[in-house]
């Protein structure tokens, strides 16, 4: 009896609310934007900052969905398995979409499972040591690693994070043959803890997004010894990777982009290219992001795909060479 009443009630409601489903033009309802990391992280803040101009461009509300866990894998899988109707998209990040696929054999997705509609933000990477350290340059660091293998350590925000790969890649580029044995990797939980570890002397150096280091550098708590970009970064008094003759390290940058599941239609992907273009030309947005140390540079869908694949290949080659691939 009661069930029937409820049924009738549901039917009544369904008539009134399901009518707009018939409308044609995409998007005609709110779009879920999955953030595969927790609230307050770099990806989350980047996503929520672009959400404002992006909502204007899309013309429908964007619902931010934090699904954190397993280094971005949980959120990524949610989008991988989502309907391809363009109402569930992902804020993809360097960690979840080029480092993790390169390092983790058990990852339930590959780059092939996603369709990238644009990379909108680049985060330069900087390496830094504690301000009172006797290491003053990359050369000092390298000679210390060579002189006493196993005494130098670097911190990261976890296994399979960009920071983890970055430390090994930088040492490898500077001629350390076996960086995994020569330097100790100390994984922490989260980027903030990783930077703090260098500050406390738990680890010797860190290579991470310049934005994560900016305030420590400004406060003279950490000393930058290299930035990986070709151009110097404002506030970082350190040589670039090009200055040091290691142009390969330019590939080592963080990024944030938007992706949908594979098989999302060309039409939707093209529309999103347009939305991102409109959003990234918003001056207010650019100003906010640059205040945090990001570089706003929009890549077209195809360019994004090529960029990410390129980065993945370099990382994968390094991981295979060093035997860093995680199988279990």
């Amino acid at each position: 009896m009661k069930i029937k009443m409820i049924g009738a009630f549901c039917a009544l409601l369904s008539v009134t609310v399901s009518a707009p489903l018939m409308a044609a033009e995409y998007p005609d309802r709110p779009v879920n934007m999955v953030i595969p990391y927790g609230a307050g992280g770099a990806t989350d803040i980047s996503a929520r900052t672009i959400a404002e101009p992006l909502t204007k461009a899309v013309g429908q509300p964007l619902v931010m969905v934090n699904k954190k866990g397993a280094g971005g894998a949980i959120g990524s899988v949610a989008v991988q398995n989502a309907k391809k109707d363009g109402y569930t998209l992902l804020f993809a990040r360097v960690g979840s979409h080029s480092v993790s696929p390169a390092m983790k054999a058990t990852l339930p997705y590959t780059l092939e499972d996603f369709r990238f509609v644009g990379v909108y933000e680049i985060n330069p990477v900087a390496c830094a040591v504690k301000a009172d350290s006797d290491i003053k340059s990359m050369a000092d660091l390298v000679s210390k690693v060579k002189a006493k293998p196993g005494t130098v350590s670097y911190s990261s925000s976890g296994v399979g994070s960009m920071l983890h790969l970055a430390g090994a890649m930088v040492l490898k580029e500077f001629g350390i043959e076996k960086p995994l044995e020569a330097a100790v990797h100390i994984p922490k939980k989260g980027g903030g803890a990783a930077a703090a570890a260098v500050l406390k002397g738990t680890a010797t150096f860190i290579c991470t997004n310049s934005s994560a280091l900016a305030s420590f550098v400004k406060n003279k708590q950490l000393r930058p010894i290299m930035v990986t970009t070709a151009k110097p970064i404002v506030g970082f008094d350190a040589p670039t990777s090009v200055d040091l003759g290691k142009p390969n390290l330019q590939q080592l940058v963080g990024w944030t982009g938007v992706a949908g599941p594979k098989g999302m239609s060309d039409e939707i992907a093209k529309k999103w290219g347009g939305y991102l273009k409109e959003a990234t030309s918003n001056e207010e947005f650019v100003k906010k992001m640059e205040a945090r140390g990001s570089i706003i540079r929009l890549m077209e869908p195809q360019e994004s795909q090529d960029f990410i694949n390129g980065q993945y290949k370099i990382f994968r080659a390094l991981v295979d060479e060093l035997g860093m691939r995680i199988k279990g």
Binding site: A39, G40, E52, G69, G71, V159, T202, S215, N219, R292
Partner: protein, 503 residues
């Protein structure tokens, strides 16, 4: 960092001028209100509330925006105690210790008293925490910097002795409960090698069990299951709010515990990475250890509520110490607040005291005011929620079930988490049936991973040499404290068994 002298007074005045305007005061009021409401909803943790408020602060002046976030944070930490007391469901992880005595009080018809004490104790601790921030920021921050993995390891080892304090009647059952918590906390990806532990290549399990899902599952769901097991009205427990309000005499009798809890909170808050829940438990177990009514703890002892709430609110102001003095976020919430600083081009750290001293002192003044706001908003909230106590149980329990499902889902937008909550709920029910205490499970679940991670990080630092675990005075201090506590527990156990034997 010289906080005394003319410059200090000048800064205080400048800070006061910055805060004494309608917007800042309004931001604090709104923040605390939003926080209390969000905290009172299980699953809507203070962290989420702060994250959701962040975008609104982008367009405000720095001081207004940050005060808004701080208001939400402080309100949220207190708000969590309301459902913890009324429906045995901690609104935020920080209020899980409040359940231990707060809910039994509510069952005895003293919900009003428990809520009142929670509020008074929260406000007192909040004020102490804020004052400590203002006066000892520099000193405590340098202390926090000397906490590397070995120091953390010893601190957490010591904190695990809390388990003995919340084990109720049987120490061994408490240990059993703790062992299960430790084991469940290992699910996920290995910290050092990134390999799966009990994750069976399932993506959801790779992320580990969500803490809030475990928390709600452990406390709220067993209550529902008990109701399902035996819905007969004769076991209907009274949860009337009544006119039973906390008296000043009671406050005075708990004052020592409140002060102790506040300083435990300040200490743990100023070391990045521990958080409010362990602090509340530590404060609770210390209060129990020192109390003459030891036996009454866990059965509705008002001092237990006071100590727990002092412990978690004592953290709130102090987490800003590493943030402001070093630029290190102590937990997720302060990480979000750092984001708010950066959006406005401010970079927390020692230099900020020089370059933007007025903003820092403005924050200090604002935080003092926020304690006052917390008191008034909290009083209103308690009265607004009093109706919960009068809802018939057969309506209340379905409501709690639905509320838990919504809240648990919302934490990480995950149906899997809802499943985790249900499964833990059944485990919790079995534990309840056989008098196995739930609190040690929870403490172990929080502290176990911290203990293991810091141990392994220390081993990585030293090349697997154990000598790093006794590398300095801080480690010696905590080793000594741990040994003393363990000996005391064993002696109390033997004494207890002797008296039982005589009976």
């Amino acid at each position: 960092m010289d906080f005394l002298g003319d410059a200090f007074l000048q800064n205080i005045m400048a800070g006061f001028a910055l805060v004494a305007n309608v917007e800042s005061i309004a931001a604090l009021g709104i923040g605390v209100t939003v926080g209390v409401i969000a905290g009172a909803i299980p699953g809507m943790s203070a962290t989420m509330a702060v994250a959701l408020t962040l975008p609104f602060t982008f367009s405000m002046t720095p001081i207004t925006g940050i005060l808004l976030l701080l208001g939400v944070y402080k309100g949220g930490i207190f708000g969590g105690s309301i459902p913890a007391i009324l429906i045995k469901t901690p609104g935020t992880p920080a209020s899980s210790a409040t359940v231990l005595d707060g809910h039994p009080m509510a069952e005895k018809g003293q919900a009003g008293k428990a809520l009142g004490m929670a509020l008074w104790s929260s406000c007192t601790a909040d004020l102490i925490s804020n004052l400590s921030l203002i006066m000892f920021a520099g000193w405590l921050a340098s202390f926090a910097l000397s906490f590397g993995p070995p120091e953390f390891f010893t601190l957490i080892l010591f904190s695990l002795t809390i388990i003995a304090g919340v084990s109720g009647g049987s120490l061994l059952l408490g240990f059993l409960s703790a062992a299960m918590g430790l084991l469940l906390a290992t699910i996920g990806l290995d910290l050092v090698y990134g390999t799966g532990r009990f994750s069976f290549n399932d993506t959801n399990l790779m992320g580990g069990l969500n803490f809030i899902a475990v928390l709600i599952g452990l406390f709220a769901i067993p209550e529902i299951l008990t109701m399902v097991w035996d819905p007969s009205p004769k076991t209907e427990k009274r949860t009337k709010l009544g006119d039973n309000w906390v008296t000043f005499k009671e406050y005075k009798s708990c004052f020592k515990s409140i002060i102790r809890g506040s300083f435990i909170g300040v200490f743990l808050g100023s070391i990045p990475g521990i958080g409010a829940a362990p602090s509340a438990f530590l404060s609770y177990s210390e209060a129990r250890r020192k109390s003459p009514n030891k036996e009454n703890f866990g059965k509705g002892e008002i001092e237990g509520v006071a100590a727990s709430e002092a412990g978690n609110n004592g953290v709130a102001g102090a987490t800003l110490i590493p943030l402001l003095a070093l630029g290190i976020p102590g937990d997720v919430i302060t990480a979000i607040i750092i984001g708010a600083f950066m959006i406005h081009g401010l970079q927390p750290g020692p230099l900020m005291f020089v370059t933007n001293g007025d903003i820092i002192y403005g924050l200090f003044m604002g935080m003092i005011i926020s304690s006052i706001f917390l008191f008034f908003v909290g009083s209103v909230a308690i009265r607004a929620f009093r109706f919960v106590a009068d809802i018939p149980r057969s309506l209340l329990f379905p409501t709690i079930l639905i509320l838990c499902v919504y809240g648990c889902y919302a934490v990480n937008n995950s149906i899997f988490d809802v499943g985790v909550m249900f499964v833990i709920g059944w485990i919790g029910f079995v534990m309840l049936r056989y008098n196995i205490p739930a609190a040690p499970f929870l403490i172990a679940f929080i502290l176990g991973p911290l203990l293991e991670d810091n141990f392994r990080q220390a081993m990585l630092m030293s090349g697997s040499s154990a000598s790093i675990l006794v590398r300095g005075p801080i480690t010696w201090f905590f080793w000594t404290l741990t040994i003393i506590t363990v000996v005391a527990i064993i002696r109390a156990g033997i004494k207890n068994s002797k008296t039982t034997a005589i009976e």
